[in-house]
């Protein structure tokens, strides 16, 4: 149990002033979920991914997605070996424990779907042969919401594969000052020791599944999810998979808070990160980020907590 606070403290020391985003990211990973970070360049998305890998003691790879990136560039290729007279599979960068998919929306839909299939199946198929991915396997994808030119926005079905979507945002002046004074974070990152072993991480993931969820809480989740399906201002409500994800993320959050049972407050804490990228407002005018934020907040405020 002590590994979690240590991991959080380590992350806090690297990414300054973003405690809430870091908690969400950590709970996403211990809930075995993939993470989508959406923000402008230069706020530390890559650093966060790197830090997560470092602190959790995971191997990691980074792939910069571009429009000419091919599925084989991620998954790997079969190469003919003259010496052995056989095809030999050369693993791509996806064969790692934490894959940072940078600017995932720049790649072609074909490449995106190859990645997303790997995320879902935890294995890749090349030339008819399945290759199992390492365990744990996480994808931390980033995208820049403001650049639209030459990008392929992820369709809803694929956004659904990401358990959470978070943003980092600009640091506040106090923390930005520290950043400026101390210089590069990469050196600090290299010096940071892992807060847990891979075995400890797997144990944590097991613990998440044991966090208690009471029937009234499931009622609450059902009402929340159900209300997204009946509201007139939403074109596409939350899927059952999203509902499962919401419960699981809330469990991870409760564990992070040191509790053995999920409270409505935990559901509310992870709600925006779980729901925002999955909801499709009916009116095009409401599909801005600010409007979506208002929408997920309004849904929370419209559903009563069970007493």
């Amino acid at each position: 149990m002590s590994a979690l606070p240590a991991a959080l403290a380590a992350l806090d020391s690297i990414i300054l002033g973003k405690s809430r985003a870091l908690r969400l990211a950590l709970s996403c990973l211990i809930a075995r979920g993939h993470l989508l970070i959406e923000d402008v360049p230069g706020v530390g998305k890559t650093t966060l991914a790197h830090a997560l890998a470092q602190v959790l003691g995971l191997s990691w790879q980074r792939v910069q997605f571009t429009s000419d990136l091919l599925p084989a560039d991620i998954l790997g290729v079969s190469v003919f070996d003259r010496a052995t007279q056989k095809f030999e599979f050369r693993q791509g960068p996806v064969f790692t424990q934490l894959l940072l998919a940078d600017e995932v929306n720049r790649a072609s839909p074909r490449t995106q779907s190859a990645l997303l299939e790997a995320m879902e199946e935890h294995q890749v198929s090349v030339d008819g042969v399945s290759h199992t991915l390492p365990d744990p396997f996480f994808v931390v994808a980033t995208q820049n919401p403001h650049e639209q030119l030459g990008t392929y926005a992820l369709p809803e079905s694929q956004l659904d594969r990401f358990l959470m979507r978070i943003e980092l945002g600009y640091p506040d002046p106090r923390h930005e000052r520290v950043l400026l004074a101390e210089g590069d974070r990469r050196g600090l990152l290299a010096r940071t020791a892992a807060a847990m072993t891979a075995a400890q991480l797997q144990q944590l993931q097991q613990e998440v599944t044991r966090v208690h969820v009471a029937p009234p809480l499931l009622d609450y989740v059902q009402q929340l999810v159900g209300s997204t399906r009946t509201r007139s201002d939403i074109r596409l409500g939350l899927s059952p998979r999203a509902a499962q994800g919401l419960v699981h993320a809330a469990r991870a959050w409760a564990l992070l808070e040191g509790r053995s049972a999920v409270l409505p407050d935990d559901v509310q804490a992870v709600w925006p990160a779980v729901a925002l990228h999955r909801l499709e407002p009916r009116n095009a005018a409401d599909r801005t980020h600010a409007q979506r934020e208002r929408l997920v907040r309004a849904i929370l405020e419209a559903v009563a907590v069970p007493r």
């Binding site: 409270l263 509310q268 005018a285 309004a298």
Partner: protein
């Protein structure tokens, strides 16, 4: 753009305003309807993001123009018509600036008032579903925007509004029965605003046959005791004296005082529910002795006229005598009035009359001779008679020989007058179809009839119906059956279908019940109902007390309903204890929203009430464990929580508001 956090339920709101407008589609000025339609389309496009918000200057100009339009159309802002049109265009103007939920509430309220205005205007049963649907939509609009718990889903909004309507039903029924009724309707409208239907105060060839194709109800009648046979059911209406050779009119001037009939048979009592006509005539079985239920007076020729035009369904009681006699002689002015004929018109008829009269020994015998002449002349009774020329009686008797009751009454009266026998044309209705479901006679416009009354010295005014000799079945059966044979398409198709008749009877009976029991629920009907409920001697104070008691009961019912949780479950002991804690926080000035979780509530409570921080913290964590954790609920745990609650209350008395 000033967008509210919660989305605006555009579609329900537009539906609610549109349905409110639709209720007035046949009464409001066309340009007002056009304005409303344009505003609806504009707002719909705007809500789709196709249009930009209207500029303030534009809105001001539009509003002023609409005000000017109302002023120009009605010359007033007073009265139901002008008020409704005013409301309608102002509601439309509001759509131009409807952005927030508050604006939506205004539009929904306007729609509700439009429904109210329609209720004041017309109260027919046929329109009741329209009013209900319209009011329901307006309430659903309000439900869609109100409260933190409601969602904007249309189904839920309609469900919530429907539930509220059902909850309000007991109170509405209570008020309906117990609120004292004013004598005379508060909302009765000036007659000039209404159209006129039914029998007119003039009759020209064909005017009654036009009426005869209408299956509208003229009135419904219920007899006390046995009803007279159909051939005796002459419902007397306007009496016509002035004849210009083509058209019969009422006597415009004051008539001479005349002998009134003296009853020679038992009185016949009946109850009539008259549909609005816009005219003053009240109908009763010939001859009418008196009518009660509306201020009225009796004319010299025995008509009963209401003091004000009948603009809404009118219930009255009538007393008539089937047999009467007249004592004394006809006055000179009366005789002159009812024997004059236009000079130089219908000359061949006048010659015929003189010839026949010369052969008769008395006026009475002459009148029979003319009837015999009608019988023998081969007249044909038809709903579609040929057009008659200016000398209408000559044309009918010597030329076309085809006509309707009005033609024969006109011809008979002319022949009588030409021989110096005073005669007048009486219009009204004959017959009425028995409605077995409602237990009354329905008299339709198709049963409109015209006959004559002639003065025989020594006998007085005698009713003579020339149609009875031309087409005896008309008098024996009433108009509808005749219509069926004369070839109306609908009737020939369905005339004999029993189920159709049943359907019509049921609908008519429902209508009658609605008018008699709901719309015309006046002071006397109210007292009657209270008497039947065993409250015979109740006074206003008693009614007020009953009303207050009922209202309290209703309030208790509302309270019980609202106590149920959002999923229709009552909270258990733990939930009640937690709710008590929330109530305590509220009394300490800490308002709790329905969507707040226990952690958030506890954190706020601790911050605001540091004196009880420890107890609040442990109370909340106990609740969390019992409600959301794995701890078992037990009596002792609840008791411990209640003890903590009391400690928190004591520790925070200083914070009480």
């Amino acid at each position: 753009m000033n967008r509210s956090v919660k989305p605006v339920p555009t579609n329900i709101m537009l539906a609610s305003f549109a349905s409110g407008v639709l209720l007035h589609i046949d009464r409001a000025p066309p340009w007002c309807l056009g304005v409303a339609l344009a505003a609806l389309i504009w707002h719909w496009l705007y809500s789709r993001g196709r249009l930009r918000p209207a500029a303030t200057a534009l809105r001001v100009i539009v509003t002023l123009a609409l005000l000017a339009g109302i002023a120009a159309t009605f010359r007033t802002f007073n009265g139901l018509s002008a008020g409704t049109a005013f409301l309608l265009v102002m509601g439309a103007a509001k759509l131009l600036e409807t952005r927030t939920q508050r604006d939506v509430a205004v539009v929904a309220t306007v729609s509700l008032v439009l429904v109210l205005a329609a209720c004041l205007d017309r109260q027919s049963l046929l329109r009741l579903p329209l009013y209900l649907a319209s009011g329901w939509t307006a309430l659903a609009t309000i439900a869609a925007i109100g409260g933190a718990r409601t969602s904007t889903s249309a189904v839920r909004a309609f469900g919530a509004a429907g539930g509220a309507l059902l909850l309000a039903l007991p109170l509405a029924a209570l008020c309906f029965v117990l609120v004292p009724r004013m004598q005379g309707a508060l909302w009765s409208m000036p007659a000039s605003e209404r159209g006129q239907t039914g029998l007119a105060d003039e009759m020209s060839p064909g005017s009654i046959s036009e009426l005869s194709v209408s299956e509208d109800i003229a009135f419904r009648a219920r007899f006390e005791g046995a009803a007279p046979p159909v051939a005796q059911r002459y419902w007397r209406g306007p009496v016509l004296h002035d004849f210009d050779g083509y058209t019969w009119r009422r006597q415009a001037g004051t008539g001479a005082t005349q002998q009134q009939p003296v009853p020679t048979s038992a009185p016949l009592r009946y109850h009539v529910l008259l549909e609005p006509t816009g005219r003053v005539y009240l109908f009763g079985i010939d001859s009418i002795a008196s009518i009660q239920g509306r201020r009225n007076f009796r004319t010299f020729d025995g008509q009963i006229l209401a003091a004000l035009p009948v603009t809404e369904t009118l219930a009255y009681d009538g007393v008539s005598y089937l047999q009467t006699r007249f004592d004394g002689a006809l006055s000179t002015t009366g005789r002159r009035l009812d024997t004059q004929l236009p000079s130089g018109r219908n000359l061949r008829s006048i010659a015929l009359a003189r010839e026949l009269r010369a052969r008769a020994t008395s006026d009475r015998q002459y009148s029979m001779m003319v009837l015999d002449y009608f019988r023998a002349a081969g007249f044909e009774y038809t709903l579609t008679p040929p057009l008659l020329d200016q000398d209408s009686v000559d044309d009918l008797i010597f030329n076309t020989r085809r006509g309707f009751c009005g033609h024969f009454a006109s011809a008979y009266a002319t022949l009588m007058r030409a021989a110096g026998v005073p005669a007048r044309v009486v219009t009204g209705y004959l017959g009425g179809a028995w409605n077995p479901i409602g237990g009354y006679y329905a008299v339709r416009q198709s049963q409109a009839h015209a006959w004559t009354e002639i003065w025989i010295d020594g006998e007085g005014w005698v009713r003579v119906d020339p149609t009875a000799v031309v087409a005896p079945e008309r008098v024996q059966q009433g108009g509808s059956e005749l219509l069926a044979r004369s070839g109306s398409a609908l009737n020939s198709l369905f005339g004999d279908a029993g189920w159709l008749r049943d359907l019509r009877d049921s609908w008519d009976a429902a209508n009658n019940w609605w008018q008699e029991r709901i719309v015309k629920f006046n002071r006397s009907a109210q007292l009657d109902l209270l008497r039947r409920l065993g409250l015979e001697h109740i006074d206003y104070l008693g009614m007020a007390l009953l009303l207050a008691g009922g209202a309290v009961l209703w309030g208790l019912m509302l309270w019980a309903v609202s106590m149920r949780g959002p999923r229709g479950t009552t909270p258990d002991a733990l939930g009640r204890t937690w709710n008590r804690f929330l109530a305590l926080l509220a009394s300490r000035g800490i308002g709790i929203a329905a969507h707040e979780g226990p952690r958030a509530i506890a954190a706020r409570a601790v911050a605001r009430l540091p004196a009880a921080a420890a107890d609040i913290g442990s109370f909340a964590s106990r609740y969390e464990q019992l409600r959301f954790g794995t701890a078992e609920q037990s009596e002792s745990a609840i008791r411990a929580m209640r003890a903590q609650l009391r400690r928190i209350a004591r520790a925070t008395t200083a914070n009480r508001r």
